[in-house]
């Protein structure tokens, strides 16, 4: 289980998230934290997760500006 904080990338966190999702082995869990912005990031992250074959375990509103998702290969 590894935690990744992508908040500093603000809106363009997708390339970095794709790159991280590529490195994980089966059964490993990753928790991502990123900025909400205009709430489009939430849908985009869900699409990326589905696209790279991960299972979206949980998707929570972390606080006023951040969103966190828990994914598992």
């Amino acid at each position: 289980m590894k935690r990744y904080d992508l908040r500093h990338l603000k809106d363009n966190f997708e390339p970095r998230m794709k790159e991280i999702l590529g490195t994980h082995k089966a059964g490993e869990v990753a928790i991502f934290l990123f900025e909400i912005g205009d709430f489009s990031a939430v849908q985009k992250s869900a699409d990326i997760v589905k696209e790279s074959g991960y299972e979206l375990m949980n998707s929570l509103k972390f606080n006023e500006v951040d969103w966190t998702i828990v994914v598992k290969k």
């Binding site: 289980m1 935690r3 869990v29 928790i31 375990m57 949980n58 929570l60 966190t68 828990v70 598992k72």
Partner: protein
């Protein structure tokens, strides 16, 4: 400007001249080689010590009182500040005591990581001891060498738990983090260089006339005196009693690891010095074996790091983020703290200084009812009262050095 005050001249660093020419000298709280805040009142006949009275308490923070007002997990960072040279061994002692009280079974990978942390701490503590003792006696180069070695270890520990001195790297029930990927590589690099480094120190010190004159025959502790004063660890092993808790009462995985226990019957400073150097080699041997054990746990995929006991230990992060019940459990454990069963436990572990014991008496509440910390350096300071008479002032410095006392532990 000295404020006129009602303070009787008892505390100040004042020397009294008495008619029978006995001088009372304060080997004061602020002294370069006092290894912390030790006020040693020495009654001197010229240079020879007639009576020694160590006065401690300058670093007393009331840890046992704080323990009674803190929940168990909250007290873990406080145990760092006890023996701040090897703080993971304090954490481990406390974690083992609570686990025995609750009856927890720690997963294997966490045990291996804990063993690695303990042995790295032992090496750091011995290197620090070698540096400060050699510096006190004047060997500057050994001081610089030993601290350079210690830096490598500190980088490894910092990579793991983010802190160099106060690690808080061990939780009750396991280990919070898996080791980072550069851990094994850096550790191997360090361990391959260590034997050569230790040989360098011994070449520098063993045949050095000053070192041998200051160390041999000085500070002789007989076996009965060591046992009577409750000395443990290298102090006891130098006085002829081969008692090492890792070997006699094996905890964690010390029974699966092959290592030897150095001891000698000379009992003087030089014996203690030899024992510390040999223990460094033994720790390196243990670390090599723990690396193999770690790779073995990776091979057969034992990946949990914390024990599974829902009412005492919160669930792994994945469950907390996804399962509702473990989130509630986590919330209660963090805010109110876990409540161990009613009972008491005394657990002794082998810290680099000696036998570090935790006595926990819990009455079922989240706060321990009584927590007594048995710090080895407390009695290693006490023995100075019987040990110093008959020695000279320079011997005080080398004796304090080899007793390896740390005042965070003495005063608690």
């Amino acid at each position: 400007m000295q404020v006129k005050n009602r303070l009787t001249p008892f505390f100040e660093n004042i020397t009294f001249d008495r008619d029978d020419n006995e001088l009372i000298l304060n080997f004061g709280p602020q002294h370069p080689s006092a290894h912390g805040q030790l006020r040693l009142m020495l009654h001197l006949q010229q240079e020879m010590i007639v009576k020694a009275h160590p006065d401690i308490g300058y670093l007393h923070r009331g840890m046992e009182k704080m323990a009674e007002n803190m929940i168990y997990n909250e007290f873990m960072p406080t145990t760092d500040r006890m023996d701040y040279i090897a703080s993971s061994s304090n954490n481990y002692g406390f974690a083992l005591a609570v686990e025995k009280l609750i009856g927890l079974e720690v997963p294997r990978r966490a045990k291996v990581i804990r063993m690695m942390l303990l042995e790295i701490n032992r090496l750091m503590s011995h290197l620090f001891w070698l540096a400060t003792t050699a510096l006190d006696i004047g060997a500057m180069t050994v001081f610089l060498f030993a601290f350079r070695e210690r830096e490598y270890l500190m980088d490894i520990i910092e990579g793991y738990c983010g802190a160099r001195l106060t690690h808080a790297a061990i939780r009750i029930g396991g280990v919070p983090l898996d080791i980072q990927d550069t851990f094994i590589a850096q550790l191997k690099a360090f361990l391959d260089k260590l034997p050569q480094n230790i040989k360098d120190y011994e070449d520098l010190l063993d045949s050095n006339r000053i070192w041998r004159m200051r160390m041999e025959g000085v500070g002789h502790i007989s076996t009965e005196m060591a046992l009577s004063w409750g000395c443990t660890g290298p102090m006891l092993r130098a006085s002829g009693v081969a008692w090492d808790i890792r070997k006699e009462e094996p905890y964690e995985l010390y029974d699966e690891v092959k290592f030897d226990v150095p001891y000698s019957d000379k009992g003087d400073n030089f014996a203690r010095y030899r024992i510390y150097m040999e223990e460094m080699r033994q720790s390196a041997k243990i670390l090599y074996q723990t690396i193999d054990m770690y790779e073995e746990t990776v091979k057969n995929n034992q990946t949990e790091l914390m024990a599974h006991a829902p009412q005492y230990i919160s669930a792994p992060k994945l469950d907390i983020m996804t399962q509702n019940y473990s989130l509630m459990q986590h919330f209660v454990l963090v805010t109110q703290g876990m409540r161990p069963p009613v009972g008491e436990v005394y657990v002794a572990t082998e810290s680099p200084k000696g036998e570090l014991g935790y006595y926990i008496n819990s009455q079922g509440g989240p706060y321990p009812y009584r927590l007594k910390l048995r710090a080895p350096s407390f009695w290693h300071t006490g023995i100075l009262t019987d040990l110093l008479p008959g020695h000279y002032i320079p011997d005080v410095v080398s004796i304090i050095g080899t007793t390896n006392i740390v005042f965070g532990e003495v005063d608690r």
